[in-house]
């Protein structure tokens, strides 16, 4: 409840309340529309619900963008946290909300083709609830709101992972994801309760000062207490972004969950978690604690990218390969988080990288869905000779894999370039070097899969057909990857604005 009256200026109360949560209000209305529509649509034509959900989310994304650009620099929003201190309304939240909504819309579109999901209205409803939680994660400014939005997203994702109740693998993915998630969120919550105990407040912008006072006292127990809270909180984040050593669930869940859900978990959920990680770590740790958290995160980044890449080398299932690749990608992104303490460019690099990663991974998983639907499997030999059977698919997958490995002129190149230069900028040259070495290792397994698609002989011949929804998703993501890779300037400018916004608030 910090200074709500201050600087309200000429902004009417209704706008003060509605503008920061316009995306969430829109999603709630969409949730109700989807649930009602599910009741009144014949079961054979329920894909329509998915299209409504996707279009609705795209409209909400646009609306939120327009409103953000119009209002985000209003002094009221710049100087305050809003809605009782629960959230912040800034460009960082906007940029992450945009990618979350985009990922959710595309996931709904590709789900319309999938047996057991496409015609289940409840699937879209729960997806929208998860999206709502993630959007709030990217804006949370209070421990209460942060925990609640994180759990709204997580619990909805447990449901989605286990959604195919007649499929053994889906149920198993659901229960694994659930047990691991519930355990880590217990540890995370204990960390938050310690932070509350040390500071007596839940507002993240007011936490740094008492924590700094605690560290300044110099008592060992104070330092150990802060480190203990940091470790417990890192366990929670490590699970959400699937950083090593909290990644054990990732391959099994990615492989077992329905593929659109895997696409959703690996993109939107990871983006939202990074948004929260960036905001929380930028704001709550005082300078005296920087040495602990940057050191820990740097170590986490190194083992995450190295182990992710090494394990990806030996995978034969494409979904598992993408799972390990996404672990490695989280490792690269952590480099940007480490750098944010010394350079605001770190935040911008994280935002840019996550945006490109969302587009790229959605494209890759869309191809996996089409191949699995038509050929009946997602092992790498199912992709053999794909260029003969569906040149468009093979091309899209190739673009996605090259972008993930960071080859110009695709988005991934600039993504990695910005991350590594942020690291150099912040004085972590060794971290950038390890990142580059890892990218070279990663190039190998991406190229192997590309070779399988373009050189190997297909077991069967005959063209593959795929729906308008999938081809739309591939066009959008493909275009996004190329545009972000060739005209990176405006996107980076946007990300830098977001980064400056984050640090603009003086508590």
């Amino acid at each position: 409840m910090t200074g709500f009256e201050a600087a309200a200026g000429d902004l009417p109360l209704v706008l003060q309340i509605v503008i920061p949560i316009v995306a969430e209000i829109g999603l709630l209305i969409l949730l109700l529309v989807v649930l009602t529509m599910d009741l009144f649509t014949r079961s054979t034509r329920r894909e329509a619900v998915g299209f409504v959900a996707a279009v609705g989310m795209l409209i909400i994304m646009g609306l939120n963008l327009v409103i953000s650009f119009a209002w985000v620099n209003h002094p009221f929003f710049v100087e305050n946290t809003v809605l009782g201190g629960m959230i912040r309304f800034d460009m960082l939240a906007t940029i992450f909300r945009t990618m979350i909504l985009l990922a959710a819309a595309l996931a709904c579109l590709i789900a319309t083709d999938v047996e057991g999901l496409g015609r289940a209205g409840e699937f879209y409803a729960v997806t929208i609830a998860a999206t709502l939680g993630m959007c709030l994660m990217s804006a949370s400014a209070d421990l209460v709101m942060l925990f609640l939005s994180l759990e709204t997203a997580s619990i909805s994702l447990y449901i989605l992972a286990g959604f195919l109740r007649n499929s053994e693998t889906s149920s198993e993915a659901g229960i694994k994801y659930y047990l691991f998630g519930a355990f880590t969120s217990g540890l995370f919550l204990y960390g938050l309760s310690l932070i509350f105990g040390f500071t007596g407040t839940t507002n993240i912008y007011a936490i740094a000062e008492p924590l700094a006072a605690l560290l300044d006292e110099g008592a060992t127990s104070g330092v150990l207490g802060v480190v203990a809270a940091l470790l417990l909180i890192l366990v929670g984040f490590g699970f959400k972004i699937s950083a090593v050593p909290f990644h054990f669930w990732t391959p099994d869940v990615y492989e077992g969950a329905p593929t659109p859900v895997t696409a959703f978990i690996s993109t939107a959920s990871k983006a939202a978690s990074f948004a929260l990680l960036v905001r929380v770590f930028d704001v709550i740790w005082p300078d005296a604690a920087a040495v602990y958290w940057t050191g820990l995160l740097a170590a986490l980044a190194v083992i995450t990218m190295t182990l992710g890449n090494v394990l990806a080398l030996v995978q034969s299932n494409v979904k598992r390969l993408l799972a390990y690749s996404s672990i490695a990608q989280a490792g690269y992104t952590l480099i940007g988080v480490v750098a944010l303490n010394q350079s605001t460019f770190g935040v911008a690099a994280v935002a840019f990288y996550m945006f490109m990663y969302v587009l790229t991974n959605i494209a890759a998983f869309t191809v996996v869905i089409v191949v699995a639907n038509q050929i009946g499997g997602d092992d790498s030999q199912d992709f053999a000779g794909l260029h003969r059977r569906a040149p468009g698919l093979a091309l899209a997958m190739t673009l996605a894999l090259l972008s993930l490995s960071g080859v110009p002129p695709l988005a991934g190149f600039f993504g990695k370039f910005f991350l590594f230069s942020a690291a150099v900028d912040a004085g972590y040259v060794w971290l950038a070097v390890i990142g580059v070495l890892n990218s070279i290792v990663a190039l190998y397994y991406y190229l192997v899969l590309i070779k399988v698609m373009w050189v190997d002989q297909a077991v069967e011949e005959g063209p593959l057909s795929f729906s308008t929804a999938s081809s739309l998703v591939l066009w959008v993501t493909g275009a996004g990857m190329i545009i972000m890779g060739t005209v990176a300037g405006p996107w980076l400018g946007w990300a830098i604005t977001a980064a400056e916004n984050l640090t603009a608030m003086v508590p």
């Binding site: 355990f183 919550l189 007596g200 054990f248």
Partner: protein
């Protein structure tokens, strides 16, 4: 008068009992019960901090109330998933449900 540390000690003990249960039990329902112990320990922490450090503010109290809501939702979803896997496999003590081996 019982001072703050005693409540926190009870919470810390209960929390580690919960952690032990999650890591050591094989049955998914038992793991879920252990997670409930952990969440309750955290809640005891929150309420004790609220009472002793900031009783005039609502934040800690409200935090505890929301933990209740989340715990209820989490338990419901978890038990639904357990019933679902039981239907598919007739077992909930699969070797894979082994937190340390993952």
């Amino acid at each position: 008068m019982v001072t703050l540390e005693f409540y926190l000690i009870v919470a810390a003990i209960l929390f580690s009992i919960g952690v032990y249960g999650v890591l050591a039990r094989r049955n998914a329902v038992a793991i879920l019960m252990s997670v409930e112990l952990m969440l309750n320990a955290v809640n005891l922490n929150l309420v004790a901090f609220w009472r002793f450090l900031a009783p005039t503010e609502l934040n800690g109290f409200v935090f505890a109330v929301f933990v209740f809501a989340v715990a209820a939702a989490e338990a419901a979803v978890g038990l639904a998933l357990i019933i679902s896997i039981y239907r598919n496999r007739q077992t909930v003590l699969a070797e894979q449900i082994n937190m340390l081996k993952w």
